[in-house]
């Protein structure tokens, strides 16, 4: 059984093997040589003599083993002594021990927790076969800076059939659907996928089968594969489920397979939770739908991703000549992992960088504390050196001391990190990808261990080199009197610089968050409830039926007590990407319209309900019936774009949708942020749902009462009208807005916390250095006071030293912060990466912290009695 001693011996052996082996070899060779010479003198031949000498020497390796054991155990014994010494020193300085261990724990704990998140979200391989070969294929428009566009069906078919670089390629379309029938209809998210989808990912079903290639005919067979979660919640995990039928939007589907619980489908773009999959197949119909497919592919093992990209781009170039609609379009490939990680990547990397800086500060502080402790023991060290202790031994003792403190701190930090990760996961923005795979496991442990080791070595190295050698050397030179040079000055500089970088980053993200919150979103979000209702089934095939259904729902909702206004919109604000189109001013010649505008289908009362101001004209009314000429309400951005100096009312737009319409502009409304606060508002057109009835709408209700009770009433109204229809995605507008800000809030909150901690660490560290400095210079200060230095002069003396270091730190930190801020520029909003308010403010703050931290020691210095000058040691 290996004991600690064995392990330590082996570890030491690794380090010391070189010198020990050299010594053993040299001694042995010398001995054998002498023995050989003796034999030669006795009259034997040289070769005979050597053989005899070697024989007499006995088993060389055994000798070496025995000798080695004796040699090594000396080092192990000394290690034991050093550890006991360290424990003794720490026990006699409990303040040092607690402060150093906790500071270390803080750094290790914070970095471990953040690394767990980074590892789970960014680094852990995706749970598919050879995940690094999986890619997402996009169309791109090089001229428009649009490099991740969904794919049209004909282009997908061309890529899939012509490309040779892929083992598989599959299309996906998110499919929201009503599952089951009255009285328990339920809205769930699923996806339509090409039959080869599961094989492309390299996953197999737990029960039954996935789709056969002929099941993509006629737009996909009515078969369905269930997720493990849906199978358990709706079929109780019954393995006889294969072959049963399930109604999907009123159409019976045969259950052919169940995926295992380990299958976590890729989530990206608007592909989120998936409870089921049904086959997708190209049809003459959907070939004309334009671009709407997500495409994943598996690049062949021996084909570089770049080569695959070139091949697909070549096919896209062919397609551009084959079909006019493909002019100006090319193709793009993004690794699946990068695609899924997406926007979460940069904020997490920024946080990881920040936490590393924090760890560096913690290490600096512990080094500082250890240095202080070593200095208080300088006399002891000098005495021990004088009576024969070797340098290496004294240095080893100092390193052991910091290693013991670090080990304790690392342990505390790791335990804290395990809890901290849970808190972090709970705080993570809801849309964070792969948050389910965040956990503290072996790779995280390895990270913590190596970071701790490096940190401990850093602490020990600084303390040993600066404290041990310089300290004792200067002590000898000055005979125990104070050295005038400030020790730990560079640590002060480092703390100020690191603190400044962290605080600037926090300042920029907090200001970004504030700017985002103060954006005029174009609506009043308080007490607005949304709920989505979709009609499906035979009763709603005609536009009249759909329009009539929503009219009835809305008139009943408006009659509810506490409802101030109610309306409907095809996609709620902050509810994700809705439809968009290119359009043009109908009075100009058609030369390829390039203005892109969002399209929303609305009930006439939408603007009153959201309290979006009507700038000119009016909203829809009873004239916008099914067969009436189409009319349109535009936002201010669009009106400005086309008619900056005349009234837009009465003008006409050219819109390619519905085989080309030329609606008359009847009103202009204020700009509404449809996606989020960050994305700049672009042109938007609103069409009347009464004229173009949709089959799913978001109900919008402004209420003076509790939102939950409104939601219940909405469900009751819909059930009364049609018990087969579910009401789903019930939220308040405030929640939608809040969720959209959650990532910025998360980043700002964490960086803010890091900044506060870093300021605290900087203050403590600077205080420590100058407290030590003043204590050491008591005699010098006493002489100055005795010679008549005013107390203000003494304070200035100490402060000047602090400020020189702090100003240098501010300069270095500003440079670092500029670089760091530039790297995270895409996270900022409303503030520049070199935002003068943040930079100047934070620099002043850091100087203030340094001043405050030096003030106490400086005042203490001013109180030094002149008597210490004449007192002897």
């Amino acid at each position: 059984m290996p004991t600690i001693r064995d392990v330590a011996m082996r570890a030491l052996g690794l380090v010391r093997r070189g010198s020990m082996e050299r010594r053993l070899d040299a001694e042995m060779r010398f001995h054998v040589d002498m023995l050989t010479e003796q034999h030669i003198r006795a009259g034997r031949s040289p070769s005979d003599a050597r053989r005899a000498a070697l024989a007499a020497f006995g088993g060389l390796e055994r000798f070496k083993d025995d000798a080695r054991d004796e040699y090594r155990s000396r080092l192990v014994d000394e290690l034991g002594q050093d550890i006991r010494y360290a424990v003794r020193v720490i026990r006699r300085n409990p303040g040092f021990g607690v402060a150093a261990a906790l500071t270390f724990a803080l750094g290790i704990g914070a970095s471990t927790a953040i690394f767990s998140v980074v590892h789970g979200v960014l680094l852990r391989p995706l749970p598919y076969k050879d995940p690094d070969r999986l890619v997402v294929l996009w169309e791109r428009q090089p001229g428009r800076g649009n490099d991740r566009n969904v794919v049209s069906v004909p282009n997908f078919e061309a890529w899939r059939s012509r490309a040779r670089s892929f083992d598989g390629m599959a299309a996906l379309v998110p499919l929201p659907a009503t599952i089951g029938v009255a009285p328990n209809p339920e809205h769930v998210m699923g996806a339509e996928v090409s039959p080869g989808y599961f094989e492309t990912l390299g996953v197999s079903p737990a029960l039954g089968r996935t789709f056969a290639s002929n099941e993509e005919q006629n737009g996909g067979a009515d078969v369905i594969v269930l997720s493990d979660g849906f199978w358990r919640s709706h079929f109780g995990g019954d393995d006889q489920v294969i072959g049963r039928t399930l109604a999907l939007d009123g159409r019976p589907h045969t259950i052919v397979g169940v995926m295992p619980s380990s299958f976590d489908p890729p989530r990206f773009a608007w592909l989120n939770d998936q409870a089921f999959w049904r086959p997708f197949g190209p049809t003459d119909n959907n070939r004309g739908w334009g671009r709407f497919l997500l495409v994943v592919g598996r690049v062949k093992g021996d084909v570089p991703v770049n080569a695959a990209l070139r091949e697909v781009q070549g096919i896209a170039a062919q397609r551009a000549t084959e079909d006019k609609g493909n002019e100006g379009w090319s193709a793009n490939i993004v690794g699946l992992s990068a695609q899924i990680t997406g926007d979460a990547r940069l904020p997490l990397l920024v946080l990881l960088g920040a936490v590393c800086l924090l760890l560096l500060m913690a290490v600096t502080n512990v080094a500082n504390l250890t240095l202080g402790l070593v200095r208080r023991r300088e006399h002891e060290l000098a005495v021990r050196r004088a009576i024969g202790a070797t340098w290496s031994r004294l240095l080893r003792q100092i390193i052991t001391l910091s290693a013991v403190v670090s080990a304790v701190g690392c342990l505390i930090g790791f335990v804290a990190a395990v809890g901290g990760v849970r808190v972090l996961v709970a705080l993570l923005p809801p849309e964070t990808p792969r948050s389910g795979s965040i956990r503290v496991d072996a790779p995280v442990l390895l990270f913590t261990a190596s970071v701790s080791m490096i940190a401990a070595l850093g602490v020990g190295g600084v303390a040993a080199l600066r404290g041990g050698r310089n300290g004792v050397a200067s002590l000898r030179e000055s005979g125990g009197r104070a050295a005038a040079r400030l020790r730990g000055g560079s640590l002060v500089t480092a703390e100020v610089a690191l603190g400044l970088v962290l605080t600037v980053l926090a300042g920029l993200t907090v200001r970004t968050f504030e700017k985002l919150r103060s954006v005029d979103l174009g609506f009043e979000s308080e007490r607005v409830v949304f709920a989505r209702v979709g009609v499906s089934g035979a009763g709603y095939r005609t536009p009249e039926a759909r329009a009539a259904f929503f009219d009835q729902v809305l008139s009943r909702v408006r009659a509810l007590p506490g409802v101030q206004a109610a309306s409907a919109v095809s996609t709620r604000p902050f509810g994700g990407m809705g439809p968009a189109t290119t359009l043009g001013d109908a009075s100009t010649a058609e030369t390829g319209d390039s203005v892109v505008a969002d399209v929303r289908y609305i009930d006439a009362d939408l603007f009153r309900t959201l309290r979006t101001p009507l700038v000119a004209g009016s909203t829809f009314d009873s004239r916008d019936a099914l067969d009436a000429p189409p009319r349109v309400v535009v936002n201010r951005a669009l009106a400005q774009r086309f008619w900056p100096s005349e009234s837009p009312i009465g003008k006409r737009l050219r819109v390619p949708m519905f085989n080309g319409i030329v609606p008359e502009v009847i009103g202009v409304v204020g700009d509404v942020h449809l996606m989020d606060a960050r994305t700049p508002v672009r042109g938007a057109i609103y069409l009347a749902n009464a004229r173009f009835p949709m089959d799913a709408l978001d109900l919008v209700v402004r209420t003076s009462v509790d939102g939950a009770s409104v939601a219940k009433s909405l469900q009751a109204i819909v059930t009364t009208l049609d018990p087969a229809l579910p009401v789903y995605w019930v939220t308040t507008l405030d929640d939608m807005v809040g969720r959209a800000l959650s990532r910025d809030r998360f980043t700002a909150a964490l960086l803010g916390a890091f900044a506060v901690v870093s300021l605290l660490l900087a203050a403590v560290g600077i205080y420590g250095v100058f407290a030590g400095d003043v204590a050491q210079r008591r005699k010098e200060i006493g002489i100055r006071v005795a010679l008549g230095a005013p107390s203000g002069g003494v304070i200035a003396l100490v402060m000047r030293r602090a400020m020189t270091r702090a100003v240098l730190g501010v300069a270095l930190g500003t440079g670092g912060a500029l670089l760091a801020a530039r790297a995270m520029r895409s996270l900022l909003f409303g503030v520049g990466a070199a935002d003068p308010v943040s930079f100047v403010g934070v620099a002043a703050l850091l100087l203030l912290v340094a001043l405050a931290a030096t003030l106490v020691p400086a005042v203490r210095a001013a109180r030094v009695s002149p008597l210490v000058a004449i007192r002897t040691d």
Binding site: E27, F30, H31, L35, F63, A67, E70, R74
Partner: protein, 113 residues
């Protein structure tokens, strides 16, 4: 394979003999074996396999110290020397040895008048 009349150093006395050799002055390992053999009129023989481990052990215990030096033939060798605590240790061991050998002697002479 010891020749007749010659024997390995008595168990437990090697440390004392090494310390005694070094009391005469700094010496390398070979020198110690030579000294012990000539000093004992070739009765005592020290195996290298026990000498060097003993030297390393004594060094670790702080009774002797070592450093590289040059022999009279101008060769590099590791020289060992007695430390203060080694000197003390030698005195103690000698006292013990004297007491023990006298005791053994007394027992062996019993009944021999």
């Amino acid at each position: 394979m010891a020749e007749k009349g010659r024997g390995d150093v008595l168990q437990g006395t090697l440390d004392m003999l090494v310390l005694k050799s070094l009391q005469l002055g700094p010496m390398h390992g070979w020198g110690i074996t030579e000294l012990l053999e000539t000093g004992s009129e070739r009765v005592l023989q020290v195996g290298q396999g026990s000498l060097y481990p003993a030297l390393y052990r004594l060094e670790r215990q702080g009774y002797i110290a070592s450093d590289w030096g040059t022999t009279e033939n101008n060769r590099q060798a590791r020289f060992y020397k007695l430390t203060a605590s080694g000197r003390k240790r030698l005195a103690e061991e000698r006292a013990t040895w004297a007491r023990m050998s006298r005791a053994v002697d007394l027992v062996l002479r019993m009944g021999e008048g």
